[in-house]
């Protein structure tokens, strides 16, 4: 096979990634865009009234739902993940590291439907006991999602933290700083861009999560009033209705898919620009 043809073949393989992204955009946009024409921007984004059978497609409850669920998951999951990352790179000696790091990696490997199932059989009754209500709601979703994004944030933050040159730690200790002061005042500030990067990627994962949220959040198309009340996110709304929706209802679901795509695109560009500028 002549080298030129080969080079073309490999270029074609490399371009499939770009082609796939373009195809995804085209198909989701073509199927989703019409809703903006018929229903108009305001009625879609700023109306709380989601009632497809009566032709109302107010997506605000899902947008707000996605935001609240993701925020809660980050508030619970990020500190735990960063704490684990700091522990692994700054404090743990080898024996513990060989035990903790694989478990965090295994957590990342568990399919999301297992997290959803685990949520239903253990966390829902727990949340019902603690917060009342049916157990399906924000509290359970926060916990499940926090556990799911923990490995992502922990792994990437740990890379950033262990990339901090040891010379800075020596300098700080030599000035009589305690280990925690060294971590707090030198190590973390230096690794901050990497940590922020990890949190943003964790956020992307949380926003994109479908199955676990669908199984534990209770799927109510309304803004939750309390921690125990059910809610719904863009992803769970799509997954719940997709199997049977038709006509304008289906277009609305594709439109929500378009929003999700746009949000994850924005997150990716933020990460690339941020890490690009800092020259990770």
């Amino acid at each position: 096979m002549s080298a030129r043809i080969l080079r073309k073949v490999f270029l074609f393989c490399a371009l499939t990634a770009v082609v796939s992204v373009v195809l995804i955009f085209i198909f989701v946009a073509v199927k989703g865009a019409p809703i903006f024409a018929t229903a108009g921007f305001t009625r879609l984004f700023f109306s709380m009234n989601w009632d497809p059978l009566k032709g109302n497609f107010g997506m605000l409850p899902f947008i707000v739902g996605s935001f609240i669920v993701t925020l809660g998951a980050l508030v619970l999951g990020a500190p735990l993940a960063i704490g684990t990352a700091i522990f692994l790179s700054e404090i743990a000696h080898d024996r513990i590291k060989r035990f903790i790091r694989p478990s965090v990696e295994l957590l990342a490997g568990i399919p999301s439907v297992i997290y959803g199932f685990f949520g239903i059989i253990l966390l829902v009754p727990l949340s019902r006991m603690l917060f009342g209500g049916s157990g399906f709601g924000l509290a359970t979703a926060w916990i499940v999602l926090a556990i799911m994004i923990l490995p992502t944030i922990a792994a990437i933050s740990e890379d950033a933290i262990s990339a901090v040159p040891p010379v800075y730690r020596m300098g700080s200790l030599a000035l009589g700083a305690t280990r925690w002061q060294t971590i707090k005042r030198v190590v973390i500030p230096t690794a901050m861009p990497g940590i922020v990067n990890a949190v943003v990627l964790g956020m992307g994962r949380a926003i994109g999560e479908t199955m676990a949220v669908l199984m534990v959040l209770g799927n109510a198309p309304s803004v939750p009033k309390s921690v125990a009340s059910p809610a719904s996110t863009l992803t769970s709304a799509i997954a719940l209705d997709m199997s049977y929706a038709s006509g304008v209802h289906q277009t609305a679901l594709f439109a929500m898919g378009l929003i999700l795509l746009a949000v994850s695109m924005v997150l990716i560009t933020v990460v690339r620009v941020w890490s690009g500028r800092v020259g990770r």
Partner: protein, 256 residues
């Protein structure tokens, strides 16, 4: 203020490899002591025992006695943090923090208390002046320390250590990685600082040791890497008529 280190039959081990054997020496305050000897003869290892920086390296063991002002520094009750404040250290490779010049110097004082802005400004100015760096950086205190030259960075590290007003400053070959003019500045600096605290410097450069130090300690390691203190005395005696012929052959440059 005459802080003295007393070291009695000190042995030091990396795991089961003995690096230092039976070191006995007494280092008085407000003097400059130079550690010289061929590379790999344990000078830096001994220096790092004095402020227990060796503790950071796993599986190291110290036997024998090191006292600072008469108090043993290797007990469990020793306040490691306080020890390192009193015994500051300058590293071979300048290692300012990735922060502004001001924050670098202010780092130490902020650790050990919460000084006010005005107090900090005072400390920063005096220590930078003591480190002979003030004139060069006084109008760009907020710029990144990493933007300074190698020599300036080393002097910044000195200022940073001075800011926690140590009693002893250990210098691990401070001038080996910087340009000659900056080295000259640091040597003048050491002479001035001598009144305020004692300095212990590890150096390869014998002219520097002869010029700068009051006392000199000559170390040598046997072929297994185990180092001993061969001879210790004031500098001119060591450099004019050393007692031990090994010191003499090292001084006259026959080997090492």
């Amino acid at each position: 203020m005459a802080t003295t280190f007393e070291v009695k039959n000190l042995d030091f081990y990396y795991g089961d490899f003995q690096a230092l054997e039976d070191i006995n020496v007494e280092i008085e305050g407000s003097t400059i002591t130079a550690f010289i000897g061929p590379s790999g003869c344990g000078k830096s290892t001994f220096l790092r025992c004095l402020n227990r920086m060796n503790d950071l390296i796993p599986e190291t063991r110290v036997e024998g006695l090191i006292t600072l002002d008469g108090r043993d520094i290797y007990t469990n009750e020793t306040d490691l943090v306080d020890l390192r404040r009193r015994v500051g250290m300058i590293f071979q490779q300048p290692n300012p923090f990735p922060m502004s010049i001001y924050d670098n110097v202010a780092y130490g004082p902020r650790l050990h208390g919460s000084p006010s802005k005005s107090e900090l400004d005072g400390i920063v100015e005096t220590t930078l002046k003591q480190a002979a760096l003030w004139k060069e950086v006084k109008d760009k205190l907020n710029s990144l320390a990493l933007s300074l030259s190698g020599g300036q960075q080393q002097r910044l590290c000195i200022a940073r250590v001075l800011a926690v007003n140590p009693e002893v400053v250990l210098m691990d070959e401070p001038a080996s990685a910087i340009d000659p003019t900056s080295t000259q500045k640091i040597e003048d600096l050491m002479a001035e600082l001598k009144e305020r605290f004692s300095i212990i410097i590890v150096t390869h450069n014998m002219q520097q040791a002869a010029r700068v130090s009051d006392h000199t300690a000559f170390f040598m390691a046997d072929d297994t890497g185990k180092a001993n203190l061969i001879e210790f005395g004031n500098t001119d005696q060591i450099f004019t008529n050393p007692k031990d012929e090994r010191t003499e052959s090292y001084i006259t440059g026959r080997f090492g």
